[in-house]
Symmetry: D2
Subunit: 403 residues, 4 copies
């Protein structure tokens, strides 16, 4: 295969997200017919031994510890950023400057300032044909994509209510260690940025409306935790391996709650928490409109609930659509009806859409600017929570860029 028809990927970071992205790059061309073929050229990490092992395990051709070298290599077409949020801006801006397409995990950045710089860099890149995309993978769950399509098609009419929660429970144990996701300098915020960002993006995507203002409340239930020995993904072991456990301050929110108004007239409730015992990955969204309602729960990701208020009154009810039909988004490429797909497929679909956009010269969504807007909502939430929950407008996207 000629390199012209390849998309040579360099990935930075190889933990939970890196593993999910690897599965996507490995699979995407085996399932979808695409004009470009993804090649897993190189993976980058800080620790030589670890990144070598990851490369072998995940199937990357090469490995490196130098992301700056990686982003400037001629044989790399796209940089896939899977690191914690504090390094996103530096890597993404350098990669875009080097003319590489960029896929960056969410949240886009840990600060508004960084996010604005990234969005500006992405816009400059776009002008030069360099594509960038933020990894809000849940948009690519078929049921969510179908939800968007049905809302856009007017199936639920004018939207009145949005009800979104993202419920997890992996840190309810006070002895769970102080992993990077619980440290403000690395993660930016806690449940809010990690999972709250997903429901902000998802609900704005599905409704086609944007949050204009919020009133918020955050809480850190467990304020001190043991320092971690090591951590990967969402699990971790406390202690230093010598039996000594020292503790540190949790500097992010365990839970964030907010009410919002959207620019199309809807009102909304949002909740992101890591303390909802028994809810493992409970991303749930319900939207009520004048003609119907639609609801999704990631723990049953192959299903979509739809209420059609235009049906005969005796037959109305919530319909559980099993989103596995060939005419549902992304699914003609997969298995027969009723044979569900899993979490990782959202990343494969994300890779599919990104490859398609690059090949056809289109700007993929969500853009860095879209992701910046999500950051602005997160920022409004934190400002409201920090000032007596008073109503707080979301800053306009172009405020400082324009200045």
């Amino acid at each position: 295969m000629s390199t012209q028809s390849q998309l040579r990927v360099g990935m930075v970071g190889y933990a939970f997200m890196g593993s999910a992205h690897s599965q996507a790059w490995r699979t995407v061309n085996r399932v979808f017919d695409l004009p470009l073929h993804a090649r897993m050229t190189a993976v980058c990490g800080r620790d030589e031994a670890n990144v070598a092992a990851a490369a072998a395990r995940l199937g990357w051709e090469q490995h490196t510890t130098d992301w700056r070298a990686l982003v400037s290599r001629d044989d790399i077409d796209l940089i896939d950023i899977c690191t914690p949020g504090d390094s996103h801006a530096e890597i993404a801006i350098a990669a875009l400057a080097a003319g590489k397409h960029v896929l960056c995990e969410k949240p886009l950045a840990n600060t508004i300032d960084e996010a604005r710089q990234m969005a500006a860099a992405a816009e400059r890149g776009a002008a030069a044909g360099v594509r960038s995309m933020c990894g809000f993978n849940y948009r690519r769950v078929p049921a969510v994509a179908l939800m968007r399509r049905m809302v856009a098609d007017g199936r639920i009419g004018d939207i009145r209510h949005v009800r979104a929660v993202y419920l997890q429970d992996w840190i309810t144990d006070p002895q769970f260690p102080l992993v990077w996701r619980l440290q403000k300098d690395k993660a930016g915020s806690g449940a809010l940025g990690d999972i709250g960002a997903h429901i902000i993006d998802l609900t704005q995507f599905v409704t086609g409306q944007r949050i204009t203002g919020v009133t918020a409340l955050t809480e850190t239930f467990v304020k001190e935790r043991p320092l971690p020995q090591a951590s990967s993904g969402l699990s971790a072991a406390a202690g230093d391996g010598n039996g000594t456990v020292t503790t540190g301050q949790v500097t992010v929110d365990d839970a964030a709650l907010f009410l919002a108004r959207l620019d199309g007239g809807a009102i909304a409730t949002y909740e992101a928490t890591r303390f909802a015992t028994g809810r493992k990955n409970g991303l749930r969204v319900e939207i009520n409109g004048s003609l119907g309602s639609i609801a999704f729960d990631f723990e049953r990701m192959n299903e979509l609930e739809f209420y059609d208020a235009t049906e005969p009154s005796t037959e109305q009810g919530f319909t559980t659509i099993l989103v596995t039909e060939p005419d549902h988004p992304y699914l003609s490429a997969w298995w027969p009806p009723g044979h569900g797909i899993g979490y990782e497929h959202s990343f494969t679909h994300q890779a599919r859409d990104l490859i398609e956009a690059i090949a056809t010269g289109a700007d993929p969504a969500p853009s860095f600017t879209d992701a910046l807007q999500v950051q602005l909502v997160l920022d409004a939430v934190l400002r409201s929570a920090g000032h007596g929950s008073g109503w707080t407008d979301v800053e306009p996207i172009f405020a400082e860029v324009a200045a």
Copy 2:
């Protein structure tokens, strides 16, 4: 049967609530063994013909249009108030003054001032052996009573999250007429007082915690509606019968959203709306604690969801308890396991508990003071919503009483 062992009831109002209460008085002694036998002595309403028809239909021995006469009759032991909220205070205070026990529908009153006067009258009555109770009937759904018992027994540990919604959709049609429940002078507030009050009471009852402060948002989606020709229950026909339709202002909220803190450390989201298309009586509460979680949905009122985080990790999950066993609250009196009960049974159980309290000389719960506290939460919600959603403390119960 001697009158000593009877509880002679006089009911004021005979619409939706009056009909439900009648079914309860008619049934309670046929199902439960109780020391007093309820007698449906008289029903009162404003229109002579209508109240006569209601008496015949519902099985009341007598009818009257004069509630003042009713509350002072010697052959009446208890006044059951089923009228709109604007008349609660006057009737309840007069009945208590006349030495009658009082059961008053929620919300207790339309204003804090009235509610305080009622609570004070109830406390004076209690001192004289006269009992009063506010009709938050959902406490008497067996699954809710079980929920309370399990939380009180520590089955979910320390409470971190409360998530409560009460979703209805009966006024999504803009042509639905301006019934009394949409008029502030009669109903006090809209979704907030009508159904929001229920989830406030229910969550405080189940958790044993009280809301200390809120930040809130209210909305009236349809601001003008046709005047009603007639209305009963939750349905109504618009127009004056002559084909002329005139409109009026909706003066209450269609939806009320608020975040709250509870005095035991929990944080909470609340939503009450009449615009959640497809949700008919969606009173849903989930509570997450350090040891487990528990959830209830009135649309499946015979079920309770329980997550026990102390079970072996491979067997944890939400257990759907079918609350129809003889050792579940109230159920030994009813049918075999799996043979569910309905909405009206909550009123029968309420009547049972009230009769038991009267017979044993105990003060029933929720008291008028409990109901006043719910009114104070409603008041804080409206104040927050009226002032930029700023954080608003719930006023203390005894503030003005003490003055």
Copy 3:
């Protein structure tokens, strides 16, 4: 109220079924507008003290221990038979001969011969304007009535599959005593006649098709049980009260399984068992047709599942219809949408339909002949199970009558 407009009821038996029927007679005229008013004139039982207590508790005006006297009294219009199956025939035939309308609990009789005699008596009665009805109460669950209506309206097209189970678990404990329902002489059969009869009637009612032949399997898992001290309803205490426990043989099936063909071309599976641990009253029916499917589970009796294969392919799914709307069967008389009803309401609806039929001079359904046909299916099942599960035709209804 004049006796002309009354329907004076005499009920025989006052245990589980008697209690449910009493609630129906007490309630029916308070909820439905009917041309006749049910009067609870007298209840009959074998033990003087017990029946007196039952009369007082359940609200019957009089009590008696002499059913023969009861059925011939001038001031009784209808005999309601709630005794075990071995006494149905004698009472029903005597009552019909005395010109009384009869409501008889299912199964109609313990033998085909008795059932044929009852059907013949009912047909003679009908000719003289005397009405009779068998108490397959589940037909009157609103969701089941709606199911019937939708199938009759062609909403699922031609029926291919019927899948019916009735799952209970109240005798899984081998120490549960040998109550009358486990004795062939009193109960006729076990799970088969008690609960299997319900799903036979229900599926034939809903489909409008009749079972023509079966292949069957029955099992008695626990063959010997302690003799009961006393029993009521479905629960019982073992022993004779003196600490001595003697045992007896279980002479009925614990479980009955059969496959069937229906006269409209459908094929079916049926299962009735009292050993389905965790299933309390799991009457579940699913019917698949050429245009859709429909499913019901009594444990969620206010819901009906409907799949409409004529909807756009991307929006198809099982719709959970919350059967609480005013235009659903029976429900305009009850509460607002979303406020569910319970098990006992099926009996109230049965009373309603029976009163309506009597008042209007129509023959109510299911008739004794309908109930005889169910007995013939039960008989075919037992014959097949007794002869190596060979295919066994259901005997024609009129075979011996015609002889």
Copy 4:
């Protein structure tokens, strides 16, 4: 990587099953740590152009149209058979004779005779260290593996009931063409062998009991169908592309129903159909035991329902275990809790277990003999259905082998 540590796979067939197996071989070593590394060496099919395209698409290094050559190549260690059932025996026996490990899709063969020969060949192979396995992939769904583990651990006690259905609806349209799965010579049987075989294997696997006898009923609702133009997977287009549609006879069952007894004392109902409108891949199994029950529905494949009758009576209920925890079978290798997996993962797990068995010199399950026993059950079903549904014993496995 040395060839010693590789497992060089040659796959025959590349349609629906071939695609699923390819995804498994591609993924298994990227997710699991295994002693052998699967290499996708060559794929085989009858049409040169099609197999070449499939090789490119699915990522096989080479392609061939000669399966006989493939099975004798030195650089192939394992033959993976994904063809229709009529070719299984010939390929598998040749491969085993050539010393290749064999993975064969189910059903093992179209006739008992072929299945016996395959089982015998596999036993000879096993003696020589050559491994064989039949692809009942559903055993490797984590929830099913957990189900097996819990039943084996005694969590539901003695098994009384098995209730198994496999419901699909892809041929309800009479115009759906006569694909190979509807032709007896290619497919052996219809719904029975295709999906009924799965629930036979799955329930025997989970219970540890084997079916000893059956009574059965089969039906072909649509007896004639248009001949197909082309077909792949479960979908197909009718016609010859020139607008001419000719029809042919459907020679297999559309639906098969049977009752069974298992050797441990349980009784069972089974249903396999392609006419259950709205059920897409409804493989559902419920097992009731003396201490509890357990249930699975493939359409919610990440969930397992468990009822523990040893819990306190007020807290019993069906627990929905979200089978995504690291200590659930296979799941430590995948994503964090709550991040579900899909259909294809069952094949990846199958590949994992097979590789593990080959590397450690163990015989994998299900063996060809296990699969032969499933064929014997299918055979008994067809014999019973063909002879008036009379009770039919399942033939012993070693009957003819011993002869």
